[in-house]
């Protein structure tokens, strides 16, 4: 059942496993969708989708698959006019209901639809309380506030919205993982810089008390020391941020990343420096790149060990000369004896673990004014756009040697 829906979900990029699909089938067998598309929508979502960032993709797939099943909203407004003046909801005694049910038992959905369309064609005025026309009250299968064991409700209140409509609202769009998000999401992503380290790195230099006691007991009291790795995070980070004018449009995004990095207290060391378009002989301690707040890039390379992770944040858009020529530096009154690219390469050689985060969406890279310099820098640094998904990838990249 719905097997194509599974493939549609997979095509949308939602990781749905066979186990989960079988669980859904079991739920359907137990009758838990109760033949309602809305219930099915929530049922399938709660079983198949395990992250709110996939809700939007699910909504899209659902819309695609179940499109057309939705009952049309375009019943002529006239009908709703008829229904505006309504009778109070009909009270039905049980005997009468049973009798009516018997009469109408054999009416299936197709017949009902056909009848409904006929009525729509024939009816030309309000009818209330009868058993044939579209109206309120009464026992006609059409209308609302009446009683009919299997009629079509037109207007009035229902507790259930159409599922396709719910999906169509796309309420979870903002949770998509490939959108750029807030500080917290960045923080969560950055926290992964820890998860890869605790168990892989560091000497076994801490006494594991529990294991020692347990081993000692196993040896009937003869002391048996067990050592383990300290669970401290050994990650050290250097963040280099572009504070040039072309970064202004991305101020908010970078600010969020900056806040998140600053809040991440789990790094063993965190150093933040600034540069203007490209790194040359100096990096700066403040975003306003002034000489009195400068430190020599050379010193940075000399004094920081190569196990620092290097993260560049910048749009990588500049005049090609700024990268490739001596004295290409953009600031007046400054000079550089070596091209910017040489400095970038030098940094990359020293800090093996490096990435470049670019606030410009990846799709735009080939089209921006800086496409050429983006290309040059991409050859030196693995470049990622600044979205949460991409940041995840960047952090994975940081954990392995380039």
């Amino acid at each position: 059942m719905f097997i194509n829906f599974l493939y549609l979900l997979k095509r949308e990029g939602i990781p749905v496993s066979t186990t989960e699909w079988m669980t859904l089938m079991e739920a359907l067998r137990k009758g838990m969708a109760s033949s309602s598309l809305t219930t099915f929508y929530y049922l399938a979502r709660s079983i198949l989708i395990k992250s709110e960032s996939n809700f939007d993709k699910y909504d899209l797939a659902f819309q695609k698959y179940f499109e057309g099943i939705e009952t049309s909203d375009q019943i002529c407004d006239q009908v709703f006019e008829w229904l505006k003046n309504y009778l109070p909801p009909l009270d039905i005694d049980i005997d009468f209901a049973a009798q009516l049910k018997y009469q109408l038992e054999n009416l299936d959905l197709d017949q009902l639809k056909k009848m409904f369309q006929e009525r729509l064609r024939e009816q030309d005025s309000e009818h209330h309380g009868g058993s044939r026309w579209i109206g309120t009250g009464g026992t006609s299968p059409f209308g609302h506030s009446g009683y009919h064991p299997g009629g079509i409700r037109v207007g009035g209140q229902s507790l259930h919205r159409s599922a396709v409509k719910v999906a169509g609202e796309r309420k979870y769009q903002e949770f998509r993982g490939d959108e750029t998000l807030g500080v917290r999401q960045f923080e969560v992503a950055l926290r992964k810089l820890r998860q890869f380290t605790t168990r892989l790195e560091g000497p076994k230099d801490v006494l594991d008390l529990d294991a020692t006691i347990s081993e000692t007991c196993n040896k009937a009291g003869r002391l048996e020391l067990v050592w383990t790795r300290s669970s401290k995070n050994a990650i050290k980070v250097i963040l280099l941020m572009d504070s040039g004018g072309s970064m202004a449009p991305y101020y908010r995004l970078c600010n969020q990343l900056f806040t998140a990095v600053n809040k991440s207290s789990h790094f063993k060391a965190l150093e933040i420096y600034y540069f203007h378009n490209c790194v040359y002989d100096h990096v700066y301690l403040t975003p306003v790149c002034q000489q009195r707040n400068a430190i020599k890039t050379e010193d940075l390379l000399r004094t920081r060990t190569s196990d620092y992770k290097l993260i560049f944040v910048g749009d990588a858009c500049m005049a090609p000369s700024e990268l490739t020529q001596v004295d290409g530096i953009i600031d007046w009154g400054m000079s550089n004896s070596e091209p910017g690219l040489v400095w970038l390469e030098r940094l990359a050689r020293h800090f093996h673990h490096n990435v470049w985060l670019n606030p410009i969406p990846e799709g735009h890279w080939p089209m921006t004014h800086g496409f050429y310099t983006i290309g040059l820098i991409k050859r030196v640094y693995p470049m990622f756009e600044l979205t949460v998904d991409s940041l995840d990838q960047a952090i994975k990249k940081l954990m392995v040697r380039n």
Partner: protein, 290 residues
């Protein structure tokens, strides 16, 4: 449809239609229900409400950063046993005396079905959820020290909450029913407040909600106010006898809603530029990061 209990919420806890569905699906399929959502959307309270509605006992297992999966099963108190054997001359032959059952085991051994809340699972080590896979699947575990197998007498209803501080492992997710508690819409929120403060003045509520959703719509807040903060605020407004028409203009008792200095500055600035705000405006340039 065996075991299909119909959870409808309780009189002090309002559930949305989709959450109700998820709970019922999880109960019927006997799978853990994983609840995610912004802080303050009532994830933890849900378990209490389910227990209350179904008339079952609630066992809460609070997860901390140091919690290990083993803690939920049993702890073998070797130190006590060693101590007893060396100094007390007690009989230490019976290992069972030194096996202390954890919360998960407690829910297994209970005579009646229980609701087990594993609260804030993301606080623990990353491997924690994976270590529980078998136990949550098969609902039994083996104690090698005593050769005993503890199996569930009645499959507990397991509710797991997460604040999304860490990504949970895929194999674990595959076994759960997932529900994301979205932030309540204004209408829903009105109902929630009415449940807590039934006698609240209608216009005060309307104005408070208007201000609240305006606050939440501001971009760049570090900590958006949540339901529990709104509840505090509404109470403060009611107790303080604030006139409803002053609420949106003056934003009194803002401290109950906002918890961060920077957020204050952002909100005050917005309120000021909205034009109606008469409060003092603080210079916030010194709080900027660059």
């Amino acid at each position: 449809m065996t075991n299909f209990t119909n959870f409808q919420g309780t009189d002090d806890y309002i559930v949305s239609e989709d959450l109700r569905n998820s709970v019922n699906v999880a109960v019927a399929l006997g799978k853990p229900l994983l609840i995610k959502g912004e802080p303050g959307t009532g994830k933890t309270v849900l378990a209490k409400s389910i227990a209350k509605a179904l008339g079952l006992r609630l066992i809460i297992w609070n997860i901390k950063s140091t919690t290990k999966a083993q803690d939920g099963l049993y702890v073998y108190d070797t130190v006590q046993r060693l101590y007893d054997s060396q100094f007390n001359h007690k009989d230490v032959a019976d290992i069972k005396k030194y096996i202390k059952l954890g919360k998960l085991a407690e829910s297994f051994t209970s005579e009646q079905q229980v609701v087990l809340l594993i609260d804030e699972i993301d606080k623990a080590d990353l491997e924690f959820p994976n270590d529980l896979l078998w136990e949550l699947d098969v609902m039994n575990f083996y104690i090698p020290e005593t050769g005993e197998t503890i199996s569930a007498k009645h499959r507990p209803i397991v509710i797991i909450t997460s604040n999304a501080e860490k990504e949970l492992p895929d194999p674990f997710l595959r076994r759960c029913i997932f529900h994301y508690i979205a932030f309540p819409e204004p209408l829903m929120m009105e109902e929630i407040i009415k449940v807590h403060y039934p006698d609240l003045d209608k216009s005060l509520l309307t104005e408070a909600l208007k201000s609240f959703y305006w606050l939440r719509s501001i971009n760049g807040l570090q900590k958006k106010p949540s339901t529990s903060e709104l509840l505090d605020w509404v109470q403060a407004l009611a107790v303080g006898g604030i006139s409803p028409k002053l609420i949106y203009e003056g934003l009194p008792f803002l401290g109950t809603l906002l918890k961060k200095n920077q957020d204050f500055d952002i909100v005050l600035q917005r309120a000021y530029s909205r034009g109606s705000f008469e409060g003092s405006r603080k210079d916030n340039s010194k709080f900027r990061n660059w």
